[in-house]
């Protein structure tokens, strides 16, 4: 996908010169989205004070949870200068198969089903990973293909059937509803996972390798980094996460047929990009992506709460996405020139 997206080298924006500033810019990137988020919440709440009502916050957090989870996996893939378009289909397949486990084996312990979902997702992720890493073919094409294939399998498997709420144990259906001190359990769980992911990408070798690979794949090979293995892992993780997200999906919506998760892929990529992850790899952070997901969900929710016809949702998403990437670009350029002035003063 790289060439399809990456502006030619001489076009790319000058990046910053000192890690201190690098850090700062990443923070600025994230805080940029944070600011948008805060403003948005503030304005909405001003118009409709119940927007900050506990139950609504819970709703938004729950809706964000699986979305942000998917963003985590996608971020790992995108940072390595790839893309995974198959997540939506994986969610769908995992959602149905895992839920139908309950239908076929009542009283199955819930963790087992989560493992099953994870397994299904992992299988899909591994398939993607092998093709991209070993086959060294563009991930955009591969995952576009698996998007079709996995959804096709899903449709074949599900046919006209569906799993209904009454076939699912209450404990399972309550997962999205249980809260600790007002905060939904899954929101906490996801937050923890994302924190772990962020920490891993920042401070573990294999994590940094992903950045290196995305930043310059050829150099990564020359440097003897296990490029194939790392990219493979990224896809496997993304797949596994999508599998888990699928299980959460069925817990949240109770009724599962062959359409679950349709069209998620572009939403997740949007969240990642809005979150300040460079679509051509090498830079960006999981935290940013998660905030991106939160922002997008908040916006939809805000529209519904304000009773603004939800028809504006799409348009606002689109605009926001464009603004986000444009800002990211200009921001880095501004910062560089500021930096340059500073240096000249130093001499």
């Amino acid at each position: 996908m790289r060439a399809a997206i990456v502006p030619s080298r001489q076009q790319q924006p000058e990046r910053l010169r000192q890690s201190g500033l690098a850090e700062r810019v990443f923070r600025i990137r994230e805080s940029g989205i944070l600011v948008v988020l805060v403003v948005f919440v503030a304005v909405t709440t001003g118009v409709q004070h119940r927007f900050l009502d506990v139950s609504n916050i819970q709703f938004v957090l729950v809706d964000t949870a699986s979305f942000a989870l998917l963003a985590l996996g996608e971020t790992m893939v995108v940072i390595s200068r790839n893309v995974d378009l198959s997540v939506g289909s994986v969610v769908g397949l995992s959602a149905y198969l895992s839920a139908s486990l309950f239908a076929s084996h009542p009283g199955l312990p819930i963790p087992v089903v989560f493992l099953a979902g994870l397994g299904i997702g992992l299988a899909c992720g591994i398939a993607n990973g092998i093709m991209v890493a070993a086959g060294r073919v563009p991930s955009l094409v591969v995952t576009l293909a698996t998007l079709y294939i996995i959804r096709g399998i899903d449709i074949l498997v599900v046919g006209g059937n569906e799993v209904d709420a009454n076939q699912l144990p209450n404990a399972f259906l309550d997962i999205p509803k249980d809260t600790v001190g007002g905060i939904p359990d899954i929101a906490i769980a996801v937050a923890v996972i994302i924190a772990a992911g962020a920490y891993y990408l920042r401070t573990y070798r294999s994590g940094r390798d992903l950045y290196a690979i995305g930043s310059n794949p050829d150099a990564a090979r020359l440097a003897g980094l296990p490029v194939g293995r790392r990219v493979f892992t990224a896809f496997a993780v993304s797949g596994a996460i999508a599998g888990v997200a699928g299980v959460l999906w069925s817990a949240q919506y109770g009724t599962i047929n062959s359409t679950a998760g349709t069209g998620y892929e572009l939403q997740v990529v949007s969240a990642v990009v809005v979150g300040g992850v460079a679509i051509f790899g090498g830079s960006g952070s999981v935290t940013g992506a998660a905030i991106g997901a939160l922002l997008l969900t908040t916006i939809s929710s805000a529209l519904y709460v304000l009773g603004i016809s939800s028809f504006w949702d799409q348009a606002i998403w689109g605009l926001l996405l464009l603004v986000a990437i444009a800002l990211d670009q200009t921001l880095t350029e501004r910062l560089t020139s500021a930096l340059r002035k500073r240096r000249t003063r130093h001499e």
């Binding site: 060439a3 399809a4 997206i5 086959g135 074949l156 689109g318 605009l319 444009a326």
Partner: protein, 324 residues
């Protein structure tokens, strides 16, 4: 080296595709005597016309090293606007002009964001994908407009005169456009420039090729063609509604890649794309005629897509395997 080795297989891919098409026709007509009936071909052309037309500009854009995911949304926006304006009693000619302008404008926005602000086209067009669909939603909201005059809606469903009732207008338009795009891409300086910038934007610029301008033009053309597709779509279904053509973009991209066009740009041929269109339409139809419904379509399409990237590289892959 691998580049070199990849070249001839890449050429062979088109022939491979031709074989696939022939196979599909063979299987199709064996599985169902109706496959090759004029009536069936007619409906086949009917239901794939718009997608087919949209693959043409997409081909040029991908060869130039970019991508446009907003095509289906532009189709939807144009369809919605058509309904919106018709419902407000605008005369058709005026509407057509407006649609053309809007389509070109939508493309221009993509193009300028990509070339002037140097933003990655994948991200940009995901953004405009949402934006343009959003405009369609805002325009029509819950409403459906379907009181278009028969004079126009017939164009969507009737056969072109003197073609023995076998050719739809959309098919005719596709054939004409395919020839035009084919000539432009393969035989003109403009087309050569597209290949050059796709293979190396910098080298193209250093050869005096106006990369930014050409890319912007390509996006504008794409916008216009998609607006046209929107009109055809609306008249074929006699329905203007906000979700017209929802999600088509991936099918369009899939067809173009299926044609062996390199997602990295610089490689691919229009013949391949025409074959890919035939394959795509053929598969769906054959599956329908053999009672597989459309369930298997996704799987077959996906499989072919994988083939399109793996087979041309088979030589390289085998070597790598033998090495390790």
């Amino acid at each position: 080296m691998s580049k070199v080795i990849r070249l001839q297989p890449a050429l062979r891919w088109e022939t491979g595709l031709a074989v696939v098409v022939i196979l599909i026709v063979a299987i199709g007509s064996v599985a169902s005597p109706d496959f090759l009936t004029g009536n069936n071909l007619f409906s086949l052309g009917l239901s794939n016309g718009e997608i087919a037309i949209m693959t043409l500009p997409m081909t040029l854009i991908i060869i130039s090293g970019e991508i446009d995911l907003s095509v289906a949304s532009i189709l939807g926006m144009s369809s919605a606007l058509l309904g919106f304006l018709w419902a407000r009693g605008w005369p058709m000619p005026a509407i057509f002009v407006t649609l053309a302008v809007v389509g070109v404008l939508a493309g221009a926005i993509n193009g300028l964001l990509v070339t002037r602000l140097r933003l990655p086209s994948l991200a940009v067009t995901i953004g405009t994908l949402a934006l343009y669909r959003g405009v369609a939603l805002i325009l029509l909201g819950p409403n459906t407009v379907s009181d278009f005059p028969n004079a126009y809606t017939n164009l969507g469903v009737n056969a072109v005169p003197f073609t023995g009732n076998d050719m739809t207008y959309s098919t005719l338009i596709f054939i004409v456009l395919a020839i035009v795009f084919g000539v432009v891409l393969h035989a003109t300086p403009f087309g050569r420039s597209i290949y050059a910038m796709g293979a190396s934007a910098e080298a193209a610029q250093f050869s005096g090729i106006r990369v930014k301008r050409i890319k912007t033009i390509l996006y504008m053309v794409s916008g216009f063609i998609c607006a046209l597709a929107g009109v055809l779509w609306t008249f074929r279904l006699n329905t203007a509604v906000q979700n017209n053509g929802l999600g088509l973009e991936l099918s369009v991209v899939a067809i173009v890649l299926l044609a062996g066009v390199s997602i990295f740009g610089g490689k691919g041929s229009l013949i391949g794309v025409v074959l890919a269109v035939l394959a795509f339409a053929g598969i769906q139809n054959a599956l329908l005629l053999t009672n597989f419904n459309q369930e298997a379509t996704g799987i077959v399409t996906g499989a072919l897509l994988l083939a399109s990237v793996f087979l041309p590289n088979a030589g390289r892959l085998l070597r790598r395997l033998s090495h390790s």
